[in-house]
């Protein structure tokens, strides 16, 4: 699973490191508008709750939460646009 995530190429990368709640989620929402259906958005966040928040958000609005890669001091959260 980790290899699969690592190999994914994101259509767009959003750096929301340093943003406080609910900033990373709002950044994801804004950025997803520039991603085609089926493509992947990669969100960087230093807020440890973002991965959980984005997972709930994706399920609600119809995107596919792919998972999280841990980087140095932040998470790379991967979501595939579903609609």
């Amino acid at each position: 699973m980790t290899e699969t995530l690592t190999e994914l190429t994101a259509a767009k990368v959003v750096d929301a490191r340093g943003a406080a709640c609910p900033g990373p989620l709002l950044e994801a929402k804004k950025a997803m508008g520039g991603v085609a259906v089926g493509e992947v958005l990669e969100l960087w966040s230093s807020d440890s709750q973002t991965k959980n928040d984005v997972q709930a958000w994706a399920a609600k609005v119809g995107h596919e939460f792919l998972g999280v890669e841990t980087a140095e001091g932040y998470d790379r959260v991967l979501v595939r646009r579903g609609k």
Binding site: C21, P22, G23, L25, W57
Partner: protein, 122 residues
């Protein structure tokens, strides 16, 4: 069930309590990001938050700046309704409020809340 979910967020705390002033904006922001229609209602001290120039001065620890949240909520279609008697009591007019804020009376608030999927009161 309506075509769209709608959340009403009532705000009654002002700049005197940055955290409780910001939390409703954080919730409303998450709601618009989740494709939920949002109506924010401002009553009492909450009205101070939609006076021009006030939101930008509020930044509660560990939260996004209130001014940024307000702008995002407006950009994403959130409505801002402000209590008419609360505004009169403070000797304010629509010109004193941020663009997009609408002064309304109790009946409108009741209509919005009873029409909503859910409501939150802060």
């Amino acid at each position: 069930m309506a075509d769209h979910e709608k959340l009403v967020v009532m705000v009654t705390h002002g700049p005197e309590d940055p955290e409780l002033a910001t939390i409703p904006f954080a919730m409303a922001g998450a709601a618009v990001a989740s494709d939920v229609d949002v109506v924010m209602g401002f009553q009492g001290e909450g009205c101070e938050l939609v006076k021009k120039g006030v939101a930008e001065t509020i930044h509660a620890d560990e939260f996004a700046p209130l001014g940024e949240l307000l702008e995002t909520i407006k950009e994403m279609g959130g409505q801002l309704l402000v209590c008419s008697p609360c505004i009169k009591k403070r000797h304010l007019t629509e010109d004193d409020l941020v663009d997009g804020a609408e002064i309304v009376a109790a009946g409108r608030f009741v209509a919005e809340v009873t029409d909503a999927t859910n409501s939150l009161v802060y």
